[in-house]
Structure formats: C-alpha cells, structure tokens
C-alpha cells in the first residue's frame, strides 16, 4: 500500500465567464480546465506541460485557492480545501507556496529583501525583528545570496537573483508543496541551470513536492519525476518523465516532442510541424479535443471524448488509439 498522496486533485473544472456584465448573463464560458485529476506524492516533482491556454496555470492557481474551481475536489494531506473556513485554510495555506514566472513583477519594488522574504511570516505568529532578521539571513544563504543583500531592493538584482529571492520567500514558512509556475522561463540559459539546480537541491534537503508548470519540455523532463501533458483543459497523457519522452503514446505528446528543435546540428530532422493552431477554449471541438489536428484521427474521435486510461505501468493516455498498442 503506497503512502497517501500529499495532494489529490479530482475532476477539477474551471469555466471563466466571457462578456456579459454585473447583472447580465455571460455571453459564453471559457472552459479553461475540464475535468482534471492527478496525485502529487511527497518529495515528488510533478510536471504540468502544454502550450499557452492549455489550463496548466489555472490548475496551479486553483490548488492554492487563488481562484475558486467551478467544480471538483482538491485534497491536501487528506483535507478537502474547499470545505475549510478561512482560519483553517490559512493554516493549511502556509504548507503550500508559489513561485512565479516573472521575477520582475512578483516582488514589491519598495520593499527591501529582508521584508520580502519574511513577509509570509506576518500571516502567522509574527516573530520579533531580530528573529526575522536571522530567518532572512538563513533563507538567503540557502538560495545562494549573501547576508549583505538583506537591505537591498529588488531593482538592485539581476533576473536570476530575483528568482532566488522569490524562492527564499516561498521557503520562509517551510512549505511541503511549491507550485512553480514557469520558474525559469524568463531567465537566460546559463542562469536557468543555476535556478534548476537550486530547486533540486532544496527538494532533496527539505523533501519538498513541486508542481512544476512549464512549456519547456527539456526542463520538465530534467526536473520532474512524472509529467502530465495538457491540451485544451484536459490531461491527455500522464507518465513517468523518461517514458513520456521516449515512448509518448498520445499523438499530441508525439507532436510536441517532435517540435522541439534539438540542439544537435547532426540531427536535423525535418521538423514535422503539427498543422494548425490550438482551437479556442470557448468553443472546444466535440469528442477528443485534439482530433482536428491529429494525424491518426478516425470516426470515434469526433464523437466521443476519450478518458485517461492505463496504457502501461504508471502511464495513462486519453486516446482512442490506446488499447495497449500505443501509436502505430
């Protein structure tokens, strides 16, 4: 019997109203997330990948209750977070933190670093100033900044250093789960490696779980234990990280992987370009959401939406082609 998951997301749905007004009914609904389920275990990095608009960020925000789901359940350590009152959720909320993509807009420019990284403490028992300072020093040391940086303001740091400050702030309350939303996408390649290594070191040291949201398949494959590939609000494939890249079973995953330009001039595969754009989530296609772009499409795909079904150990796919054979 494996350990109970730290986070369990079941049948999560989020529809955003479009148009309308305060009293008028919305003209349409944007179906950002349509029935997503997954578990995240302790100490695990769980990757959510997909292109813009696939719903990966919306899921991250719902897990932290920064936005409310339309329906579905989110259980953290066995507790259904939507059933908790403000106080109870406040206590739970300390155990999950978020790191944002843009290290420029996610830090208050008028706050010195010491205040930024210890701000989450203010929601709790408010330690005295001297202790706050000690905590801040320890945090900066953990993320590779110097104690001398405590009095500086965000504009005095580079993008990579700002991201370290954001990570220190997230670590402040000793969380168990960190939602990292494109944490390295805004950084240069050489700095990206520094931050990825830091996130992995911290995971080892504190036994952290990550929900790692990214559009960069190489980064996700490097960082994560398991990966969920999303398309138009649904998970289309969920697999261990190395299986997802070596034996993709969903045609969308296959196309996504083929689209990544390989950093190898000797291997110039004519990039097999998946045709077309992602359809609008306001009016998603019937049946399988991927069928208009799929090169294996057949009758059933247009009529009926496939659900995530086991294809191999720990590997699930939402595709009518999948009955253990994978892609032909």
């Amino acid at each position: 019997m494996p350990e109970a998951p730290l986070l369990r997301v079941s049948e999560l749905v989020k529809h955003f109203p479009q148009g309308g007004g305060i009293l008028a009914k919305p003209k349409a609904w944007l179906k950002a997330v349509s029935g997503v389920s997954f578990d995240v275990h302790r100490g695990e990095s769980f990757g959510l990948v997909g292109e813009s608009g696939c719903g990966k960020t919306t899921i991250g925000r719902m897990v932290l209750r920064l936005i409310e789901p339309t329906s579905g359940r989110i259980e953290f350590d066995g507790l259904d977070i939507s059933q908790l009152n403000r106080g109870e959720f406040g206590r739970l909320r300390r155990r999950m933190q978020i790191i944002f993509q843009d290290p420029y807009s996610s830090l208050d420019p008028r706050m010195p670093v010491e205040q930024i990284v210890t701000e989450p403490l203010l929601a709790g028992r408010r330690p005295p100033r001297a202790e706050r300072r000690r905590i801040a020093e320890r945090l900066l040391d953990k993320v590779g900044l110097r104690g001398a940086d405590l009095g500086k303001y965000p504009h005095e740091f580079s993008g990579g250093q700002r991201q370290r400050i954001g990570i220190a702030r997230a670590l402040c309350v000793r969380p168990e789960l960190i939602v990292a939303d494109e944490p390295v996408s805004a950084l240069d390649v050489s700095i990206q490696a520094q931050v990825i290594n830091l996130l992995q070191d911290l995971q080892q040291e504190f036994g952290l779980s990550y929900i790692f949201i990214s559009h960069d398949l190489s980064v996700v494959e490097h960082v994560c234990h398991r990966v969920a590939v999303m398309y138009l609000g649904s998970i289309v494939e969920l697999a261990p990280a190395d299986e997802f890249s070596r034996k993709p079973r969903h045609p969308y995953t296959e196309g996504l992987l083929a689209a990544v330009p390989l950093p190898d001039p000797h291997c110039r595969a004519a990039p097999f370009a998946m045709e077309g754009d992602v359809p609008s989530p306001i009016d998603p296609p019937p049946g399988c959401p991927f069928h208009p772009r799929c090169r294996y499409v057949f009758g059933r795909c247009q009529a009926e939406k496939p659900s995530l079904a086991a294809a191999a150990a720990g590997h699930r796919v939402a595709c009518w082609l999948n009955d253990g054979r994978g892609l032909s």
Partner: protein, 335 residues
C-alpha cells in the same frame, strides 16, 4: 550566386546612461554570404539585438551612437548612405522580423494593407495590385483563410498568425537579406516548428540570406550553417555549426552548451545535475581590463585578468577570444 553579401567590420555602439556612456557592442565583426544562414547567439544584454538594429539604422539616437565601424552591404557602407537610400534598402533589400509581432504591426491598420504597403512604397504598385500580391503572400505563409482575413486587425489574430503576417510583410519585396531577431521566442513550440519550417522553405526558394538572432541553441543547431557567439558586447567565438556543437573552444560556449537540459535519451541517470556557469553577466556599464568572462571562467589565470585576448584562429572557420589558445596547458590545470 555566391560571395559576400553583408560584412560588419569593427562595429562599436554605445548608449548614454546616467552613469556615463556604456558600450553595448564593442568592435564586432562578422560576415554573411549569399544564401547563407548565420546564427548569432548570446544571452540578454550581449549586444546581439543592438548589432542587428544597427544594420538597418534603427538604433535610437540619442541615447545610442555608432562610435566606429562599417556595415558593408553589397559593397556599400550602410552607415554612410543617405537616409533616403537607407529607406529604399530597408524593406526592399533587407527586411527584419522581430520577436513580438504585436508591437511591430500597426494595431489600427488592417493586415492586408500592412502587407501591401512595402509593395506600394518600394515597387510603386497600385493599391489593387499590391493587395493582390499581399493575398498571394499571405497564402504562401499559410495564414489560414487569408483572403477572408485581409480586413482583420492584428489583435484578432493568434501569435503564430501574426508572425506569419510579419513574415509575409518582410518577404513581399523579395529581400536579399532577412534579419530575424528572436522570431519564435514568443511562440509555443508547435507554432515555433511551423514558423521555422516556413522560414527554411522561403529561404531555399528565394535564395535569400538569413541572419538569425536567438538565445535558443536548439533553433541555431537546426537552422544555421555558421554561428557567432556574443558575450558582453563582443564576439567570443565563431564557428561552423557542427564545430561549435562538437568542439566548442571558448569556456563560455562550452558552459552554455553544458548548462542546457538535454533530452534524456537512453542514458537514464536520474538526478544528473546541470553544469552551471557561476555568477552573472557583467553590467553594460562595467569597464574591463582583461577578458570579460574571467570572473565566471573555470580556467581563468593571471593573463586573463591582465590583458584582453583577441580573436585567435582555432581551426578552419573557427576562432575564439580566449588565452587558452596560446596557453593550452592552462585548460587542464584546474578543470
């Protein structure tokens, strides 16, 4: 049809800042042949975009200033031609596409008219003729339902579609050189693949040269025949693409290649660490006595701090700005 199309020679560009003049591009030289794709790679602030903007005279001045150098296009120094001549060259002989198509398209003009405009200005076509050719080009760049979208405004299109419009606009006059500055950085990876294969196709068909500026080493590996690596305003390495990836010489190039997460492939080792380049890129206002990479270099020794290295020849077509060429024993000393 071969031979030199564009030569940048000893180009230096500075910007006035509150802390004094800052040199963004420092004595940069490289050349581009007809029909060739040259990749210019480097991280933010390395001067790659400033270099490309200088070619078309698009550096805002002030605060920017071209201190020295020549930009020779088909035998003419673009830094000396009259503004009218430069306008004629821009868009007709040399076109440019940018990272964010939304900011480089006119938001209040229908896309059909925008694509047709270079044809009216440079080729003197009538509105109807220009529009007819614009439709042709929009279809060639595979804008879905192009004919129906002529009256659409940029905001009505997706990011990928806008980049297609940009490409159509850049191509209508059949330029000899296309400068693409991070053309796919703002796009999703499947759309990036579509745009890249579109660019390859058009380039082959028209025999045009491509100057591709990017931070994405994957894009360079797939597209370029030669690569220039820039760091802190200077060219630090130049090589044919295969040599750059197989036998990079400069420690910065080596660091860049190693710090990239690679697809795991068959070697299934799990918690493999990425190799970091320690430290941060120096500020543009910094002054240097020695090599600009010294502070981050694993092989740095006294010579690197004392004197700035020049570009040394490594092998045919490859050169690097590094003292290790002269003191090879130093590479093993501490690596």
């Amino acid at each position: 049809m071969s031979g030199r199309l564009l030569g940048i020679e000893d180009l230096s560009v500075s910007f006035g800042t509150p802390e004094g003049s800052a040199r963004a591009v420092d004595r940069v030289s490289f050349a581009l042949d007809r029909g060739e794709t040259l990749g210019v790679v480097g991280e933010s602030g390395c001067g790659k975009s400033v270099t490309s903007l200088s070619i078309l005279g698009l550096i805002p001045s002030p605060p920017g200033r071209i201190d020295s150098g020549r930009i020779v296009f088909e035998g003419r120094n673009l830094l000396e031609v009259s503004p009218e001549d430069l306008r004629r060259i821009r868009g007709r002989e040399i076109s440019m596409i940018f990272q964010e198509p939304m900011t480089s398209l006119n938001p209040v003009l229908p896309i059909g008219r925008q694509v047709a405009e270079p044809l009216r200005v440079h080729r003197g076509l009538s509105n109807a003729q220009a529009l007819a050719q614009a439709v042709e080009w929009l279809e060639r760049v595979k804008l879905p339902a192009a004919r129906r979208r002529l009256d659409d405004y940029p905001h009505q299109l997706s990011g990928g579609m806008r980049q297609r419009v940009m490409i159509a606009m850049a191509m209508v006059c059949r330029p000899k050189l296309l400068i693409a500055d991070e053309p796919t950085t703002a796009l999703d990876v499947t759309i990036q693949a579509q745009i890249l294969s579109l660019m390859v196709g058009l380039k082959e068909e028209m025999g045009m040269s491509l100057l591709l500026i990017t931070h994405n080493l994957g894009v360079v590996a797939q597209m370029a025949s030669r690569v220039v690596v820039m760091y802190a305003g200077q060219v630090v390495e130049e090589a044919p693409v295969a040599d750059l990836f197989d036998r990079p010489f400069h420690p910065y190039t080596q660091g860049l290649l190693r710090s990239m997460p690679r697809r795991r492939g068959r070697c299934a080792g799990r918690t493999r660490r990425l190799t970091e380049i320690p430290g941060i890129v120096p500020a543009i206002t910094e002054t240097f006595t020695g090599c600009r990479f010294t502070a981050r270099c694993p092989h740095a020794f006294h010579r690197c701090r004392e004197e700035a290295p020049g570009l040394f020849g490594i092998r045919r077509g490859q050169q690097a700005r590094c003292w290790l060429r002269e003191f090879p024993e130093r590479r093993d000393a501490r690596a």
